[in-house]
């Protein structure tokens, strides 16, 4: 893998554990790592997971960039209407900074 050539992060994480965030609902024709069911969902930051290479750029071999990664905790009852389980059941998903906004 090519070494990252650019850093497009804020110097410090934009979000902290417990912050409410919304995952962007934008549609992208090209490769990206946000599954459809998570788009537009609101959750809380469960962990700040360091910096990793942006998958969109890896896929197309353009200039690589480090992006901050977050573990976002969503509630199953928000994700699936009629969810058949506990209201406490959750789903953790790893989302890059450029797909998140404060909620």
């Amino acid at each position: 893998m090519t070494a990252p050539e650019a850093r497009e992060n804020h110097p410090l994480p934009r979000f902290r554990v417990g912050d409410r965030v919304q995952i962007d609902a934008r549609d992208e024709a090209q490769h990206h790592r946000v599954p459809a069911y998570a788009k537009g969902q609101i959750g809380t930051i469960a962990k700040v997971c360091g910096e990793h290479e942006e998958p969109e750029r890896i896929a197309f071999g353009t200039q690589h960039a480090l992006r901050r990664l977050y573990r976002v905790r969503l509630h199953q009852t928000d994700l699936w209407p009629g969810y058949d389980g506990l209201s406490a059941d959750t789903l953790d998903i790893d989302i890059f900074d450029h797909w998140l906004r404060p909620a």
């Binding site: 790592r33 199953q76 058949d84 389980g85 506990l86 059941d89 953790d92 790893d94």
Partner: protein, 207 residues
């Protein structure tokens, strides 16, 4: 390729004939990359052989058994899994690993909805069902039903935490230590730690 007859040769003898649009797209892309000389069919075959030759790993079970008998190790494993795994002589350098601790009130289970991300250094190659569309789509939507199909019946006071492995991180579940194993050696305990219990679809075996 130098064939002048129209039928295709499958890339592996045991590979099923593609049935869906995207499977055919993958086959066509592969053919084109071979024709343009980016790699040869033999190189592809060698790579497949290399990937498939990976032995089922017992590292994961050793890590779990150590965490069951050593509280300090368990704490290190939960805060810095890569370093803790390397302590036992296992190579985890390729992936950023997180260990998810099951408790009497929280049950963790791992899926990769987008492909088949899996902690290979600790568990070896992923089982076929882990890569199946059914597991990947159903586990996020109806985890309790899927768990019950694996024989895992969770009490109503246990919360389910699904982890969708969508990025660079890999996840390993630390299952609960089974009752009736007081005083057991690490080696004996490790035999109770199944692959499926470290994915989270089952609990550890009971003695």
């Amino acid at each position: 390729m130098s064939h002048d007859h129209p039928h295709r040769h499958p890339p592996q003898v045991d590979h099923p004939e593609p049935t869906s649009h995207y499977e055919w797209l993958g086959v066509a892309l592969n053919d084109l990359l071979i024709e343009t000389g980016l790699y040869t069919a033999d190189e592809l075959r060698e790579k497949i052989t290399e990937v498939e030759a990976v032995e089922p790993s017992t590292h994961g079970a050793r890590v779990v058994a150590r965490a069951w008998v050593d509280e300090d190790y368990r704490a290190r494993l939960l805060t810095d899994a890569n370093t803790a795994v390397e302590e036992l002589g296992s190579d985890s350098a390729a992936t950023d690993l997180t260990v998810l601790e099951n408790t009497p009130r929280i049950h963790n289970v791992v899926v990769c909805t987008l492909c088949s991300c899996y902690p290979r250094t600790l568990l070896g190659r992923p089982p076929t069902w882990y890569k199946s569309g059914a597991y990947r789509s159903r586990l996020v939507r109806e985890p309790r039903t899927v768990l019950s199909e694996f024989g895992t019946m969770l009490p109503d006071d246990v919360q389910v935490r699904v982890h969708d492995s969508t990025a660079e991180l890999r996840y390993l579940v630390l299952p609960l230590r089974p009752y009736g194993t007081d005083g057991w050696t690490e080696e004996r305990l490790a035999e109770l730690v199944t692959r499926d219990s470290m994915i989270g679809v089952t609990t550890a075996s009971t003695p």
